[in-house]
């Protein structure tokens, strides 16, 4: 799915040229006003994008060549969740859903419909008019509506911003499954690193209408020089394989390039490939192994480099496993410790340390 | 002084000439002319319109004003006698007088609404007398007034019309098309009466004077010749004895 785009607008110039994988979730991240919404609108065809070229899964939707036709919005098999809910005010919640279902790219089976209703917890709201729904309820209807057109490309503009944590947690796995089972690519705009880390396979970082950085999400999110100020959300994304399931303690053992980690069991079967996130703030360092701690995960590592954090009290310590030094970006672990500890422990590049990892999140 | 005179629309053109002539002759007096259908003007007078005199297209409205004591009865005068003409914009259509009414060489015959306009009454009397009342029934279209009946014919939408001679007559001859002047015997005279309104008797003296002067001017040969040049007859022996009530005429159906 390669894109090329470049267009002028009153005072905002979107000038991007990128191609993203034809499946999986592409996260779009960037400060307010950086052009994320504009980008989605261009892809949807809602906005004239002169001098731009757009090809999706081999089909040309738009071309800068003179005389070339542009696929009109309603012919593009997309689903769009707008930043503001935008339900049809003349229809009830159910009417809004039926509107989408009737025009879906392929028939929506009753089970699928029921599942979506269930998931978004809409059963009590179906008869309500949009103006009598709360902000979060509106957004849930809007997400369900976009799913019901059975899109082949899903564009989501901060879809979960208005939702509470519990609902977010219900919906996120569904979105994951969605793109896994139906293999529809999703473009996902969000301000939440957690959501992005969890969902995105690929990441676009935007600033001032330009793509500042693009690449596989794990690599990009693991960089200590990640251009967006992540603070406590800084960490590494690792691919790992489940190798053991401990039903007594509800734990999983997963193996990544740098060793084994114990995780909370969230139902994965041995052999499954998972993605885990180790936040720098969750990693503490010791010079000798401490077997007496409540921390299960202790890995023998070697310090690769130490960089300053945005916070002057802290440093970022990048490490690689002692056993199997790794040269590419994979397998690194980053710890965020105080400068004082760095000094007290005498940490420096090349030193051997034990990394204690307090908690590890499976993001997929 | 300046006086305002309400005039039935069909008499608008001659009245402008008369007014101009009058102002020239009298020097000091001015006329303001307000045109309208007789029915409307009557209602306006009844509801306090500031008119000093009223030129109706018939006698009936004048009678009523006098009966209601809104007009000065002894000022009544028949200022013109209308003449009815059968006319077509097509110069070849009316070749043998009224015979054309018998055939189907026309689709519509325009007349004025007999309920509203004296020319309409005269037109119906004529058709009855010629025994075309039945045969033309489905083809008659009615103008609200005689001017509109004329427009129907002049625009060609109606091929024939029974209209006022004054509408096609200037300075002694028919201005165009083909026509047949309906003999006076086929309809009762179309008397158009004028009257001075009560308003004025209480009004300022210069307006009373102007009205009197105008009334005198109307009887002058100058005025008569203007009126006749528009295809009206004038009756030398005015005022006529008033006909007392509204003429009974069947509706145009």
């Amino acid at each position: 799915m390669p894109f090329t785009r470049g267009r002028r607008q009153a005072d905002f110039l979107l000038d991007v040229d990128f191609s993203i994988p034809g499946s999986g979730v592409t996260g779009i991240f960037g400060p307010s006003g950086s052009g994320k919404t504009t980008l989605l609108r261009c892809i949807a065809g809602l906005q004239p994008c002169t001098q731009s070229h757009l090809r999706v899964n081999g089909e040309t939707w738009q071309s800068a060549d003179t005389g070339a036709i542009t696929l009109p919005v309603h012919k593009r098999p997309i689903g769009y969740v707008f930043q503001q809910p935008s339900l049809f005010p003349h229809l009830t919640a159910e009417g809004n859903l039926a509107f989408a279902r009737k025009r879906a790219t392929q028939p929506v089976r009753a089970e699928d419909y029921d599942e979506i209703i269930q998931l978004m917890d809409l059963s009590g709201l179906l008869d309500a008019r949009p103006e009598s729904l709360s902000g979060g309820e509106q957004q849930r209807v809007a997400i369900a509506r976009a799913l019901l057109v059975k899109p082949q490309l899903l564009l989501m503009d901060e879809p979960l911003a208005a939702l509470d944590l519990a609902r977010k947690r219900d919906i996120l796995p569904y979105l994951e499954r969605l793109h896994q089972s139906f293999d529809i690519p999703i473009l996902y705009v969000s301000h939440s690193v957690e959501e992005i880390a969890r969902l995105a396979d690929y990441l676009l970082l935007m600033e001032d209408g330009r793509i500042q950085q693009a690449g596989a999400a794990p690599a990009l999110l693991s960089r200590t020089d990640f251009p967006v100020q992540l603070g406590d959300d800084l960490g590494v994304l690792l691919e790992a394989d489940v190798i053991e399931r401990d039903t007594q303690w509800n734990l999983l053992r997963a193996r990544f390039d740098g060793g084994d980690l114990w995780l909370r069991d969230s139902g994965e079967a041995p052999g499954e490939r998972i993605r885990i996130r180790v936040l720098a703030r969750d990693v503490s360092l010791t010079r000798t192994e401490d077997t007496d701690s409540s921390i299960l995960n202790r890995l023998p590592m070697r310090v690769v480099d130490i960089t300053a954090d945005k916070d002057p009290a802290m440093v970022l310590v990048r490490m690689t496993p002692r056993a199997t030094p790794i040269s590419d970006n994979q397998g690194f672990i980053t710890a965020r410790v105080t400068r004082r500890s760095q000094d007290a422990l005498g940490l420096a590049a090349g030193e051997e340390v034990w990394a204690q990892i307090k908690s590890v999140a499976i993001v997929r | 002084g300046e006086i305002t005179i309400a005039v039935a629309s069909n008499f608008a053109a001659p009245m402008r000439d008369i007014a101009a002539a009058f102002e020239r002759v009298s020097g000091e007096h001015r006329l303001r002319l307000a045109f309208g259908s007789s029915g409307k003007l009557y209602a306006q007078v009844y509801h306090g319109a500031p008119f000093d005199a009223f030129f109706s297209a018939d006698q009936d409205k004048v009678n009523r004003l006098i009966a209601r004591d809104l007009a000065v009865s002894n000022s009544r005068l028949t200022y013109a006698l209308g003449q009815l003409a059968l006319w077509s914009a097509d110069s070849a259509l009316i070749d043998e007088g009224p015979a054309v009414l018998a055939g189907d060489r026309f689709r519509k015959l325009a007349i004025a609404n007999p309920k509203l306009a004296p020319y309409g009454v005269a037109a119906m009397e004529t058709l009855t007398a010629l025994e075309f009342e039945q045969t033309t029934r489905g083809r008659r279209v009615l103008g609200e007034n005689i001017a509109q009946a004329f427009q129907f014919v002049a625009s060609g939408n109606a091929q024939l019309g029974l209209i006022a001679l004054s509408q096609v007559y200037r300075d002694g001859k028919i201005t165009g098309g083909s026509s047949w002047l309906v003999p006076q015997a086929l309809y009762r005279p179309i008397r158009q009466d004028a009257v001075i309104l009560r308003n004025i008797s209480a009004g300022p003296p210069e307006r009373v004077a102007a009205t009197k002067a105008f009334w005198a001017f109307l009887r002058s040969p100058k005025a008569r010749s203007i009126i006749e040049s528009y295809g009206y007859l004038t009756n030398a022996a005015n005022p006529e004895p008033p006909t007392t009530s509204t003429k009974e005429v069947r509706d145009a159906k």
């Binding site: 309603h74 098999p77 790219t105 103006e131 509106q138 | 209602a43 279209v141 427009q151 129907f152 939408n157």
Partner: protein, 230 residues
């Protein structure tokens, strides 16, 4: 009270006003939609043209229509060459004249209602795979409902009350072109005031009832929500 003539006139009026309103909605809605959405250079001139019939006195408009539709007029020549005869003094003629005369009252409210929606509903509809036609029917029109109702009310009422144009091209043929407004006018002109009063009162009461029912209905539909989103 009401004579047979009066009743025939009432019937004819309702027939005319209904026909004209229907046609106006059918013709005026696309025109209003085009005016609301277009960025074309023609928008201004067309808007002005639609409003123009308003500034001519109806009788004068009727006069020009009489010429235009008459045997010497361009439209008249056309209809005659098609073997349709000429339009004045016919019911279709009245309908055409009324269309022209009431068009601005129908176009303007609909255009405003569509413009007030903004682009968002149409954008949403397009992302939900509704084509322009689909979107027009199922989103734009339902959302413009208050405007459509206003348009229909103004169009209907204006046609019922229309007088000058019909007077001019109708020829006052009972059952064909003699509508209530002309019937009342005739009563007034003929000084038959009692009949004029009766007929006017009947018209007013009827119209008031229809309008009242419409407004109450419209209101019931839109009432309810005391609040406008969170």
């Amino acid at each position: 009270m009401l004579s047979d003539n009066d009743l025939a006139a009432i019937w004819l009026t309702l027939k005319l006003a209904t026909t004209v309103t229907l046609l106006l909605m059918i013709l005026g809605t696309p025109l209003a939609y085009w005016l609301a959405k277009t960025r074309s250079w023609w928008k201004g001139p067309v808007s002005a043209l639609v409003t123009l019939p308003l500034v001519l006195p109806p009788t004068v408009l009727g006069f020009y229509l009489l010429i235009f539709m008459g045997p010497q007029g361009p439209l008249g020549k056309l209809t005659e060459s098609l073997g349709l005869g000429t339009l004045p003094f016919t019911f279709p003629g009245l309908v055409i004249a009324s269309l022209l005369y009431s068009l601005p009252f129908v176009v303007q409210p609909i255009q405003n209602a569509i413009e007030a929606q903004g682009q968002r509903p149409a954008e949403v509809a397009a992302t939900l795979r509704a084509g322009p036609w689909d979107s027009f029917w199922h989103v734009t029109l339902p959302l413009a409902k208050p405007g459509l109702i206003t348009a229909a009310v103004l169009g209907f009422a204006h046609t019922v009350g229309e007088f000058g144009v019909i007077l001019m091209i109708g020829g006052n043929i009972p059952g064909v072109t003699k509508v209530v407004s002309i019937q009342i006018y005739d009563h007034v002109e003929a000084l038959e005031y009692t009949q004029a009063h009766w007929l006017s009162a009947a018209m007013l009461i009827f119209s008031f009832s229809v309008l009242l029912a419409l407004y109450v209905l419209q209101r019931r539909k839109t009432a309810g929500g005391w609040r406008y989103g969170p």
